[in-house]
Subunit: 256 residues, 4 copies
């Protein structure tokens, strides 16, 4: 039987600022990436989000980002590899404390935004992050862009890894994401997006923007809970996968 | 045989800013309270400080503070008890990650600055902090002002507690510290400070500013490493205690 | 003819976080208090808000707060008076830069949240803030709680002052606001709120929570744009005042 | 008669953290670049630094940086040009407030660290910064790396500009600075450094690392006050220039 994880970035509120329909999207996903207070989130939000995930029986992971709340962690920052490593460790630990308070374990770590993007292509940065994760807890699964440098670095560091794919993004022929600045980068047609996801999961293939099929491994699918339409789309993806006899399960249940 | 802990606040540098002679004072102390990035410290400094403590065979604890780097965590902030609890959990977790990376365990938690002062007198705040510590790890020792509300709250929460005393501060007859704004608040005479410390440890007594002896329990003595004179004073306290057959040991070795 | 100002706190978004229906409420108010990046707001938001106010022909003022984005500036912080003074100066200057870029002048300064509340009752803090405002620009109007210490301090410092009243809050017999924690603190009945506002403006009287009438001077009425209902209420207040032949005008037009 | 400005980055302390011998270096320089609270500095430090500059009769300018206190503004951040523009405006305004309080005018703006380096080579970023400065106050002088994109952008925006040179850095044949990572990047020999400075000022020439002379315009020389040796070197540069009949004067006195 096919298995795949549905993951979403949660806990992105901050103080007086509210973001995301966390409670709604938790009904459909299997893994939650929880912001750790650097690019988003704060200790009150983290505790609440861990609690909501527990109630919804959703696995949790740390979602560490750059120290850039103003830019929501999306802007690239030239931090050193050693800095990146320690920033990731710090944030994993911070989230761990709230998991401890609820009797939960952290399942995975997925870097956020600019850090995710840079770690996908920068082998040295990816290595530093992977080693940081390993040093905190070698049982954590490292989630990154499918087939990216981060995935390779995770494996090399001795970690289990999870290849993440995107329902709403086009792929280049080398398996990287088409830049959002280019035409055709976003898959707007929801039915097409869903059929692509199903194919990625069941066949390990996706049609690149250049027209040819490429290999892609889909351990986890990134979905969004920003607004009611996004949440409804998550529900649609989940239903379509289940109709195709794909079981939605947290990566911790099937990644080896 | 008498035992007492010597503790100092370390890891207070931040980015480009250097503070404290951590490497020097580590030669004389038995427990290090490490700043966790909120009022001071950052992930690079935390990792370095944990490493230095390991080399020096000094036990480590978290030193959580208010979210106020600008005020070095010294200014009182009216956060809610729930906020204080989660802020403390977050910071313990952050430091835990670096201890994990070095194969160390956290021994204790000691709130910093304004949070320390408020938790000494506000029973509800103290309870929230103690419960936060317990939820993260019930084996952590909670360090606070000797005989304060924080000590009581720690015991009530089921934690081991460590009563902290100050060599260089005068005490009121109720066991609280004389405010720094009042005359006589600081014990300037180093020989007097040392003899007071020895008496607190061996007799459990100290002469209050009002002239009478009061009971005080000294599990740990707070010392400073801000400058060479301060470090030399730590050495003097250590020597004096050892000459009096008091063993310097981390609280984890003798607090039950 | 009676004149009164309608003011609202705007520009409270931050980075990726959106807050408030600024464009909507600007249709009805005469003065905008713009957050300056400490408790809320950022340079992009500030520039945008100044631009929106210019389009809407609404006067602008600085809305300085504590350095506490996490607490939205609502939590009291024990900063020194000198710190408060310099924090206010910094934030006024920051907003001034964006006004310069649009050819606008700053009309007023109104402290935010915890700083507003403390400055209403702490004469020394109020004096420090007033002097800070004066030093940056002695033509700025200082807005504060009607009849509070901040109003007195502003006058003593040589500034023009604006007494602010609240439509939705109950008053104690000494003219202070009834704490939100007490029953009856909020005026829920919108018609009552409006009639109270009209009376404050035209008669200079309001019925205190204890039942007796007290004197109150209403130069400016604080209104909110958090949600569509709040904006509609602002419209209702404006209409009611105009029907009562009260002209809505920015304080800069009538405060002397 | 030849004239040149000596500038130094001041006001880089933050809260409890002290940095730089500002009082000492102010004796020898003619212009101070004052940190504005983003990469360094805070309102208390800014007010103090403006006051010290006034006493020392030294002209002041804003030294805006990235929002990265943790990295001291040295790490490149991919902010948009619009963001950079507004960040610079914000920081100029903040410093302006303290100048107002002392009856001083801002003479110039010099971007800091990563922002300075990127603006030297990125024409679009440089344009955004120059326009931001112009919008706040068109009389401000824009200081940047000699002959860099920032200098060109400043001229194009209608600003007066000041070409900055470095005594202790080697130059490439195209007038850019040799990267610190390359051998020979730093001029270690103090006498050589001084003779190079004198030649840059009097002849408008410097010997590039490749051996040939290149044209360079030196309106202002960057000097440092980090430690007593650095301050003594500033004194030496000043003396050498004066012996060569070069007058040390703030750029505001001679840039047209």
């Amino acid at each position: 039987m096919y298995k795949v994880d549905l993951n979403s970035d949660l806990g992105e509120s901050f103080g007086n600022y509210k973001l995301g329909l966390d409670g709604d999207v938790l009904k459909y996903i299997s893994s939650a990436n929880i912001a750790c207070g650097w690019h988003a989130g704060d200790p009150m939000v983290m505790d609440k989000t861990v609690s909501l995930a527990l109630e919804a029986n959703v696995a949790i992971g740390a979602h560490p980002g750059y120290p850039d709340l103003l830019g929501f962690g999306r802007r690239e920052m030239k931090v050193t590899n050693e800095e990146a490593k320690n920033y990731v460790k710090y944030q994993i630990g911070a989230l761990w404390a709230f998991a401890q308070g609820r009797g939960m374990k952290l399942q995975h770590v997925k870097p956020h935004g600019g850090l995710y993007n840079m770690a996908a292509v920068d082998a040295e940065l990816a290595k530093a992050i992977a080693e940081g994760v390993y040093e905190v807890d070698k049982n954590l699964i490292l989630m990154g862009l499918a087939n990216s440098e981060l995935i390779k670095a995770g494996r090399n560091a001795g970690l289990k890894v999870a290849n993440e794919v995107f329902a709403d993004r086009a792929y280049n022929s080398d398996g990287t994401l088409v830049s959002r600045k280019k035409e055709g980068a976003m898959i707007q047609d929801r039915d097409l997006a869903i059929s692509r996801v199903v194919r990625m999961v069941k066949e390990g293939k996706v049609c690149a923007i250049t027209g040819e099929d490429i290999d892609i491994r889909a351990d986890s699918i990134c979905v969004h809970g920003d607004n009611p339409q996004a949440v409804e789309f998550v529900n649609s993806i989940k239903k379509a996968l289940e109709e195709e006899r794909v079981k939605i399960a947290p990566i911790g249940e099937f990644i080896v």
